[in-house]
Protein backbone atom coordinates (compact mmCIF):
# COMPACT_ATOMS: atom_id res chain seq x y z
CA UNK A 1 0.00 0.00 0.00
CA UNK A 2 1.19 3.44 -0.88
CA UNK A 3 1.82 5.78 2.01
CA UNK A 4 -0.54 8.34 0.50
CA UNK A 5 -3.41 5.88 0.53
CA UNK A 6 -2.60 4.84 4.09
CA UNK A 7 -2.52 8.48 5.18
CA UNK A 8 -5.87 9.16 3.50
CA UNK A 9 -7.43 6.17 5.29
CA UNK A 10 -5.90 7.25 8.57
CA UNK A 11 -7.20 10.80 8.25
CA UNK A 12 -10.69 9.56 7.39
CA UNK A 13 -10.73 7.41 10.53
CA UNK A 14 -9.78 10.35 12.71
CA UNK A 15 -12.21 12.69 10.94
CA UNK A 16 -15.09 10.19 10.95
CA UNK A 17 -14.65 9.53 14.68
CA UNK A 18 -15.01 13.24 15.36
CA UNK A 19 -17.83 13.83 12.85
CA UNK A 20 -20.03 10.91 13.87
CA UNK A 21 -19.59 11.34 17.62
CA UNK A 22 -20.12 15.07 17.22
CA UNK A 23 -23.31 14.37 15.28
CA UNK A 24 -24.55 11.96 17.96
CA UNK A 25 -23.88 14.51 20.70
CA UNK A 26 -25.64 17.22 18.70
CA UNK A 27 -28.83 15.14 19.02
CA UNK A 28 -28.90 16.24 22.67
CA UNK A 29 -29.37 19.86 21.59
CA UNK A 30 -32.50 21.10 23.33
CA UNK A 31 -32.89 17.76 25.16
CA UNK A 32 -30.06 17.92 27.72
CA UNK A 33 -30.98 16.94 31.28
CA UNK A 34 -30.27 20.49 32.48
CA UNK A 35 -29.88 23.76 30.62
CA UNK A 36 -26.20 24.01 31.59
CA UNK A 37 -25.53 20.43 30.60
CA UNK A 38 -27.25 20.96 27.27
CA UNK A 39 -24.90 23.83 26.46
CA UNK A 40 -21.85 21.92 27.70
CA UNK A 41 -22.50 18.79 25.67
CA UNK A 42 -23.20 20.83 22.54
CA UNK A 43 -19.91 22.68 23.06
CA UNK A 44 -18.25 19.27 22.93
CA UNK A 45 -20.21 18.40 19.79
CA UNK A 46 -19.03 21.61 18.13
CA UNK A 47 -15.41 21.01 19.17
CA UNK A 48 -15.55 17.59 17.55
CA UNK A 49 -17.07 18.98 14.35
CA UNK A 50 -14.22 21.49 14.28
CA UNK A 51 -11.68 18.66 14.48
CA UNK A 52 -13.56 16.80 11.74
CA UNK A 53 -13.46 19.83 9.44
CA UNK A 54 -9.68 20.26 9.67
CA UNK A 55 -9.10 16.54 9.20
CA UNK A 56 -11.51 16.18 6.24
CA UNK A 57 -9.97 19.19 4.53
CA UNK A 58 -6.50 17.71 4.90
CA UNK A 59 -7.74 14.27 3.82
CA UNK A 60 -9.13 15.85 0.65
CA UNK A 61 -5.76 17.48 -0.06
CA UNK A 62 -3.89 14.23 0.52
CA UNK A 63 -6.26 12.32 -1.76
CA UNK A 64 -5.73 14.95 -4.46
CA UNK A 65 -9.02 14.40 -6.29
CA UNK A 66 -10.51 17.75 -5.43
CA UNK A 67 -12.90 16.48 -2.76
CA UNK A 68 -13.81 19.08 -0.15
CA UNK A 69 -14.57 18.63 3.54
CA UNK A 70 -18.29 18.64 2.67
CA UNK A 71 -17.88 15.99 -0.04
CA UNK A 72 -16.14 13.72 2.43
CA UNK A 73 -18.51 14.41 5.31
CA UNK A 74 -21.78 14.11 3.42
CA UNK A 75 -21.35 12.21 0.19
CA UNK A 76 -19.88 8.83 1.01
CA UNK A 77 -21.76 5.59 1.42
CA UNK A 78 -21.85 3.72 4.71
CA UNK A 79 -18.98 1.35 3.94
CA UNK A 80 -16.71 4.29 3.20
CA UNK A 81 -17.07 5.68 6.73
CA UNK A 82 -14.29 4.47 9.00
CA UNK A 83 -15.36 5.80 12.40
CA UNK A 84 -14.91 3.52 15.41
CA UNK A 85 -18.09 1.61 16.27
CA UNK A 86 -18.31 3.17 19.73
CA UNK A 87 -18.90 6.61 18.18
CA UNK A 88 -22.11 5.51 16.43
CA UNK A 89 -23.82 3.90 19.43
CA UNK A 90 -27.16 5.39 20.48
CA UNK A 91 -27.21 8.22 23.02
CA UNK A 92 -29.50 6.21 25.32
CA UNK A 93 -29.98 7.84 28.72
CA UNK A 94 -27.46 10.40 29.94
CA UNK A 95 -25.39 7.73 31.71
CA UNK A 96 -25.05 5.86 28.40
CA UNK A 97 -23.86 9.05 26.72
CA UNK A 98 -21.38 9.78 29.51
CA UNK A 99 -19.99 6.22 29.53
CA UNK A 100 -19.56 6.28 25.74
CA UNK A 101 -17.97 9.72 25.96
CA UNK A 102 -15.57 8.84 28.75
CA UNK A 103 -14.31 5.66 27.08
CA UNK A 104 -13.83 7.54 23.81
CA UNK A 105 -12.33 10.69 25.40
CA UNK A 106 -9.78 8.61 27.27
CA UNK A 107 -8.77 6.98 23.98
CA UNK A 108 -8.85 10.22 22.02
CA UNK A 109 -6.74 12.00 24.62
CA UNK A 110 -4.00 9.37 24.51
CA UNK A 111 -4.12 9.25 20.72
CA UNK A 112 -3.96 13.02 20.15
CA UNK A 113 -1.21 13.40 22.74
CA UNK A 114 0.85 11.13 20.50
CA UNK A 115 -0.32 12.82 17.30
CA UNK A 116 1.12 16.10 18.56
CA UNK A 117 4.50 14.44 17.93
CA UNK A 118 3.52 13.25 14.44
CA UNK A 119 6.13 13.37 11.68
CA UNK A 120 3.37 14.85 9.52
CA UNK A 121 3.40 18.56 10.28
CA UNK A 122 -0.24 19.17 9.42
CA UNK A 123 -1.44 16.36 11.70
CA UNK A 124 0.86 17.60 14.47
CA UNK A 125 -0.59 21.11 14.12
CA UNK A 126 -4.21 19.90 14.09
CA UNK A 127 -3.49 17.72 17.14
CA UNK A 128 -1.80 20.55 19.03
CA UNK A 129 -4.93 22.66 18.63
CA UNK A 130 -7.40 19.84 19.29
CA UNK A 131 -5.69 18.41 22.37
CA UNK A 132 -6.63 21.44 24.47
CA UNK A 133 -10.31 20.76 23.77
CA UNK A 134 -9.97 17.01 24.16
CA UNK A 135 -8.32 17.49 27.56
CA UNK A 136 -11.40 19.42 28.64
CA UNK A 137 -13.77 16.80 27.21
CA UNK A 138 -11.93 14.17 29.20
CA UNK A 139 -12.06 16.23 32.36
CA UNK A 140 -15.84 16.63 32.03
CA UNK A 141 -16.57 13.02 31.22
CA UNK A 142 -14.43 11.89 34.17
CA UNK A 143 -16.25 14.31 36.49
CA UNK A 144 -19.61 12.94 35.35
CA UNK A 145 -18.48 9.32 35.62
CA UNK A 146 -17.42 9.99 39.22
CA UNK A 147 -20.68 11.70 40.10
CA UNK A 148 -22.96 9.14 38.51
CA UNK A 149 -20.91 6.16 39.68
CA UNK A 150 -20.49 7.45 43.22
CA UNK A 151 -23.90 9.16 43.31
CA UNK A 152 -27.14 7.46 44.25
CA UNK A 153 -27.75 3.72 44.16
CA UNK A 154 -29.81 4.20 41.00
CA UNK A 155 -27.21 6.33 39.18
CA UNK A 156 -24.50 3.86 40.21
CA UNK A 157 -26.40 0.85 38.89
CA UNK A 158 -27.43 2.54 35.67
CA UNK A 159 -24.00 3.80 34.66
CA UNK A 160 -22.41 0.49 35.61
CA UNK A 161 -24.86 -1.11 33.18
CA UNK A 162 -23.91 1.51 30.55
CA UNK A 163 -20.22 0.64 30.85
CA UNK A 164 -21.01 -3.08 30.76
CA UNK A 165 -23.09 -2.66 27.58
CA UNK A 166 -20.60 -0.46 25.74
CA UNK A 167 -17.52 -2.42 26.72
CA UNK A 168 -17.73 -4.86 23.81
CA UNK A 169 -17.27 -1.93 21.40
CA UNK A 170 -14.00 -0.71 22.93
CA UNK A 171 -11.76 -3.40 21.38
CA UNK A 172 -12.50 -1.93 17.95
CA UNK A 173 -10.64 1.27 18.92
CA UNK A 174 -7.35 -0.60 19.05
CA UNK A 175 -7.60 -2.85 15.98
CA UNK A 176 -4.72 -2.26 13.57
CA UNK A 177 -4.58 -2.98 9.86
CA UNK A 178 -2.16 -2.47 7.00
CA UNK A 179 -2.79 1.31 6.89
CA UNK A 180 -1.89 1.57 10.56
CA UNK A 181 1.33 -0.33 9.95
CA UNK A 182 2.33 2.21 7.28
CA UNK A 183 1.39 5.10 9.56
CA UNK A 184 3.34 3.71 12.51
CA UNK A 185 6.38 2.95 10.34
CA UNK A 186 6.37 6.52 8.98
CA UNK A 187 6.14 7.98 12.49
CA UNK A 188 2.83 9.65 11.63
CA UNK A 189 0.77 8.00 14.35
CA UNK A 190 1.29 5.82 17.42
CA UNK A 191 1.04 2.08 17.76
CA UNK A 192 -2.51 1.56 19.05
CA UNK A 193 -1.49 -1.74 20.60
CA UNK A 194 0.90 0.17 22.84
CA UNK A 195 -1.83 2.64 23.84
CA UNK A 196 -4.31 -0.07 24.83
CA UNK A 197 -2.77 -1.10 28.20
CA UNK A 198 -2.32 2.58 29.15
CA UNK A 199 -5.95 3.26 28.23
CA UNK A 200 -7.09 0.27 30.26
CA UNK A 201 -5.15 1.37 33.34
CA UNK A 202 -6.61 4.89 33.14
CA UNK A 203 -10.14 3.58 32.68
CA UNK A 204 -9.72 1.13 35.52
CA UNK A 205 -8.50 3.89 37.86
CA UNK A 206 -11.37 6.24 36.95
CA UNK A 207 -14.00 3.52 37.34
CA UNK A 208 -12.48 2.45 40.67
CA UNK A 209 -12.65 6.04 41.93
CA UNK A 210 -16.26 6.13 40.75
CA UNK A 211 -16.91 2.92 42.79
CA UNK A 212 -17.56 1.11 39.50
CA UNK A 213 -16.14 -2.16 38.24
CA UNK A 214 -14.22 -2.38 35.00
CA UNK A 215 -16.07 -4.88 32.78
CA UNK A 216 -14.46 -8.20 31.86
CA UNK A 217 -12.81 -8.29 28.44
CA UNK A 218 -14.94 -10.72 26.45
CA UNK A 219 -15.80 -10.99 22.79
CA UNK A 220 -15.38 -7.66 21.04
CA UNK A 221 -17.14 -6.14 18.04
CA UNK A 222 -14.83 -4.98 15.27
CA UNK A 223 -14.90 -4.01 11.61
CA UNK A 224 -14.99 -0.23 11.57
CA UNK A 225 -11.69 0.02 9.72
CA UNK A 226 -13.16 -1.91 6.81
CA UNK A 227 -16.34 0.12 7.02
CA UNK A 228 -18.44 -2.61 8.64
CA UNK A 229 -20.76 -0.80 10.98
CA UNK A 230 -23.48 -1.48 13.53
CA UNK A 231 -27.15 -1.27 12.55
CA UNK A 232 -27.19 2.30 13.91
CA UNK A 233 -24.95 3.75 11.22
CA UNK A 234 -27.48 3.78 8.38
CA UNK A 235 -29.94 5.77 10.49
CA UNK A 236 -27.25 8.30 11.35
CA UNK A 237 -26.28 8.79 7.72
CA UNK A 238 -29.84 9.11 6.48
CA UNK A 239 -30.29 12.09 8.78
CA UNK A 240 -26.77 13.49 8.42
CA UNK A 241 -26.80 13.35 4.62
CA UNK A 242 -30.42 14.27 3.95
CA UNK A 243 -29.85 17.89 2.95
CA UNK A 244 -26.93 17.20 0.61
CA UNK A 245 -28.72 14.25 -0.99
CA UNK A 246 -32.00 16.11 -1.43
CA UNK A 247 -30.44 19.40 -2.52
CA UNK A 248 -27.03 18.57 -4.03
CA UNK A 249 -24.47 21.32 -3.50
CA UNK A 250 -26.78 23.20 -1.16
CA UNK A 251 -24.98 25.87 0.88
CA UNK A 252 -26.05 28.25 3.62
Amino acid sequence: MEQKEALFNYLLRLADNAAILGHKLSEWCGHGPELEEDIAIINTALDLLGHARSLYTYAGEVEGKGRTEDDLAFLRIEREYKNALITELPNGHYGDTIARQYLFDQFNYLLFTELEKSSDETIAAIAAKAIKEIRYHLRRSIEWTLRLGDGTEESHNRIQESFDNIWAYTGDLFVEDVSDEEIIAAGIGPDLKALQPIWREKVKATLAEATLTIPEDGWMHSGSKEGRHTEHMGHILSELQYMQRAYPGCEW
Binding site: E34, L35, E36, E37, I39, A40, N43, R139, R140, R147
Partner: protein, 95 residues
Protein backbone atom coordinates in the same frame (compact mmCIF):
# COMPACT_ATOMS: atom_id res chain seq x y z
CA UNK B 1 -39.15 9.93 40.70
CA UNK B 2 -38.42 12.74 43.10
CA UNK B 3 -36.62 15.55 41.39
CA UNK B 4 -34.30 17.77 43.36
CA UNK B 5 -33.05 20.90 41.69
CA UNK B 6 -29.34 21.53 41.77
CA UNK B 7 -28.32 24.53 43.89
CA UNK B 8 -27.93 27.92 42.27
CA UNK B 9 -24.46 29.46 41.83
CA UNK B 10 -23.34 32.97 41.00
CA UNK B 11 -20.61 33.25 38.40
CA UNK B 12 -17.88 35.89 38.30
CA UNK B 13 -15.60 36.13 35.29
CA UNK B 14 -12.31 38.00 34.91
CA UNK B 15 -12.22 39.13 31.30
CA UNK B 16 -8.46 39.65 31.23
CA UNK B 17 -5.48 39.66 33.51
CA UNK B 18 -5.38 42.74 35.73
CA UNK B 19 -9.11 43.37 35.72
CA UNK B 20 -11.37 42.28 38.54
CA UNK B 21 -13.90 39.47 38.38
CA UNK B 22 -17.33 40.72 37.37
CA UNK B 23 -20.67 39.10 37.91
CA UNK B 24 -21.74 37.33 34.71
CA UNK B 25 -24.91 35.59 35.83
CA UNK B 26 -26.03 32.46 37.58
CA UNK B 27 -26.45 28.77 36.85
CA UNK B 28 -27.34 25.46 38.43
CA UNK B 29 -24.77 22.80 39.28
CA UNK B 30 -24.52 19.89 41.73
CA UNK B 31 -21.23 21.08 43.30
CA UNK B 32 -18.47 23.69 43.02
CA UNK B 33 -16.34 21.84 40.51
CA UNK B 34 -19.23 21.27 38.13
CA UNK B 35 -20.32 24.88 38.67
CA UNK B 36 -16.91 26.02 37.39
CA UNK B 37 -17.18 23.62 34.49
CA UNK B 38 -20.68 24.79 33.61
CA UNK B 39 -19.62 28.42 33.98
CA UNK B 40 -16.83 27.81 31.49
CA UNK B 41 -19.32 26.37 29.01
CA UNK B 42 -22.13 28.85 29.61
CA UNK B 43 -20.31 32.15 30.22
CA UNK B 44 -16.89 31.94 28.55
CA UNK B 45 -17.61 30.07 25.32
CA UNK B 46 -17.14 33.24 23.29
CA UNK B 47 -13.75 33.96 24.76
CA UNK B 48 -15.07 36.19 27.53
CA UNK B 49 -12.71 35.18 30.28
CA UNK B 50 -9.40 34.05 31.72
CA UNK B 51 -10.53 33.21 35.25
CA UNK B 52 -13.78 32.14 36.89
CA UNK B 53 -15.10 32.39 40.44
CA UNK B 54 -18.27 30.67 41.55
CA UNK B 55 -20.10 30.99 44.84
CA UNK B 56 -23.29 29.32 45.89
CA UNK B 57 -26.00 31.96 45.72
CA UNK B 58 -27.19 31.25 49.27
CA UNK B 59 -23.86 32.57 50.58
CA UNK B 60 -24.43 36.01 49.11
CA UNK B 61 -25.83 38.58 51.51
CA UNK B 62 -27.43 41.57 49.93
CA UNK B 63 -29.11 44.86 50.69
CA UNK B 64 -32.88 44.87 50.67
CA UNK B 65 -34.90 46.62 48.02
CA UNK B 66 -37.06 48.09 50.79
CA UNK B 67 -34.02 49.69 52.42
CA UNK B 68 -32.83 51.46 49.32
CA UNK B 69 -34.36 54.83 50.28
CA UNK B 70 -32.29 55.06 53.43
CA UNK B 71 -29.29 53.23 52.01
CA UNK B 72 -28.73 55.05 48.74
CA UNK B 73 -30.94 58.06 48.20
CA UNK B 74 -29.08 60.29 50.70
CA UNK B 75 -25.98 60.11 48.49
CA UNK B 76 -27.70 61.51 45.43
CA UNK B 77 -27.06 65.17 46.26
CA UNK B 78 -23.60 65.04 47.79
CA UNK B 79 -21.60 66.02 44.77
CA UNK B 80 -18.71 67.16 46.95
CA UNK B 81 -17.90 63.48 47.50
CA UNK B 82 -16.90 63.10 43.85
CA UNK B 83 -13.24 63.89 43.22
CA UNK B 84 -14.08 66.17 40.31
CA UNK B 85 -13.02 69.55 41.69
CA UNK B 86 -9.42 69.51 40.60
CA UNK B 87 -7.60 68.91 37.33
CA UNK B 88 -5.66 65.75 36.80
CA UNK B 89 -2.44 66.30 34.85
CA UNK B 90 -2.36 64.47 31.50
CA UNK B 91 0.78 62.57 32.52
CA UNK B 92 -1.18 60.71 35.17
CA UNK B 93 -3.14 58.96 32.46
CA UNK B 94 -6.06 56.70 33.26
CA UNK B 95 -7.11 56.64 36.89
Amino acid sequence: MERKDWPLWEVFVRSKAGLSHKHSGSLHAPDAEMAISNARDVYTRRNEGVSIWVVESKHIHSTLETDSESMFDPNEDKIYRHPTFYDIPDEVGHM
